[in-house]
Amino acid sequence: MKDVKVLGPGCKRCQTTAEMVQAEADRLGIPVHIEKITDYAAIAGYGIASTPGIVIDGTVVHAGGLPKPADLAKWLAA
């Protein structure tokens, strides 16, 4: 089970990012647990300056804008 955190204050893009992660994980058959982090202090604690951000198993892999599906697949499979 991969632990995925989507960092963002609850904007539309953050929602879309979470859905993209779920869709890509389903496609690859990787079980994931997605958690949304909306608290500003918690988001800042990950050291990013733009949202949405993606953290997989404790490692920040993405910040700012929607991720590319191909990159998502790479991060999820790693």
Binding site: G8, P9, Y40, A44, S50, G64, L66
Partner: protein
């Protein structure tokens, strides 16, 4: 445009719902060709806007030769013109911005000294992708990673004020001199206001929880960005920004058309002309709480200048509308105390005031 958020198509070519998404598998050459062809179509359409608007006005059942016709002609010509120019500018800037990110800008600014740092921050504010919804993460991300407070403010002032939409539309509608002036004075306000806030050493006026965040910076994995990805970023920017601002633009053009057709020139000259010293402060005070993005305000600006309003007064109005707005202040309230917000608004407002007066005096 409605984009259903919960009906997510599956498969790697369709990451999220959209109206136009050529398959990723297209070769890069097809993308380049598509861009060139689109530009050619754009140019052909743009060249025919005047006859098109004349034709529309001629077939409309309105009194010809009157004020109404003036106003309608302005509206019918300016709406497609502004929307087309906006689309072009947003696309090009979307591609340019794919070369920058807030994280990279932060790395460039961290530990910079004030002065040069303020200038760098304001300049990077033009090209770094920024939306007001992520102003708070950006603010904390900058400050907690060692970007000085005043330098962060220079970025935060320039990013919304000196943006590609404002510059591109000013250039297209009012001329390159006004656009360049707006760029230079806008950067000036951002640099000087940020520098002053930095010199005041107001770090203690941040909200307490912000001062305790010491996160450092995340090391993001390198991602390959191809030419096709950059074109897609441009299309994505058009999709997002034009869909969001077209209502404002139409409203702005309608207001501009009303001014164009009905506002008496001598009254406007008396209220917003060079001789009315109080018009600059009035423009700033009215503009600060207003929220409209640059796209909506520029057709109004064009109409005001055409009616003889002083350029400095109009620029001051536009700067205060874009640089300071109630929604942004409410968002920033999460990280700044009321006292610091008051200083921020006062310093930026004063800067804009000086620009307005200076400009009216210089170009009398």
């Amino acid at each position: 445009m409605t984009t259903p958020m919960n009906t997510l198509p599956q498969g790697e070519d369709r990451p999220h719902p959209t109206w136009f998404r050529p398959p990723r598998s297209w070769p890069a050459a097809a993308w380049m060709g598509g861009v060139v062809a689109s530009m050619a179509v754009w140019a052909a359409l743009y060249a025919h806007l005047v006859p098109f608007s004349e034709w529309v006005v001629s077939v409309l059942p309105i009194a010809h030769g009157g004020r109404l016709e003036d106003a309608v002609r302005f509206f019918v010509y300016d709406t497609p013109k502004v929307l087309m120019l906006l689309t072009l500018v947003v696309f090009v800037m979307g591609v340019v911005r794919s070369f920058f990110s807030p994280e990279r800008t932060r790395a460039l600014l961290a530990g910079r000294r004030e002065g040069a740092g303020n200038a760098a921050a304001a300049t990077l504010g033009i090209v770094t992708p920024f939306c007001s919804c992520s102003a708070v993460p950006l603010f904390i991300g900058f400050v907690s990673a060692g970007v000085p407070l005043g330098v962060t403010f220079s970025f935060l002032i320039a990013a919304p004020m000196v943006n590609e939409v404002a510059l591109g539309l000013l250039f297209a509608l009012v001329g390159w001199k006004v656009a360049l002036t707006y760029l230079v004075f806008g950067l000036g306000v951002a640099i000087v206001a940020g520098w002053i806030i930095g010199r005041l050493h107001l770090e203690d006026w941040l909200e307490a929880w912000v001062r305790t965040v010491r996160s450092g910076t995340a090391a993001l994995p390198a991602v390959e960005v191809s030419a096709v990805d950059r074109i897609r970023a441009g299309i994505e920017a058009v999709r997002e920004i034009v869909a969001k601002v077209w209502v404002w633009i139409v409203l702005g053009i309608a207001a501009g058309a009303a001014i164009h057709g009905y506002a008496p020139a001598d009254l406007l000259a008396a209220v917003m002309g060079r001789d009315a010293w109080w018009s600059v402060p009035a423009a700033v005070v009215i503009g600060i709480p207003m929220y409209s993005n640059a796209a909506g305000i520029i057709p109004v600006v064009e109409a005001l200048i055409g009616k003889g309003a002083a350029l400095g007064t109009v620029l001051a109005f536009m700067m205060s509308v874009t640089a300071l707005s109630l929604p942004e202040i409410i968002i920033l309230r999460k990280v700044l105390t009321i006292r610091l917000i008051a200083v921020f608004v006062a310093v930026v407002g004063l800067g804009i005031l000086v620009v307005g007066f200076l400009f009216n005096a210089l170009f009398a």
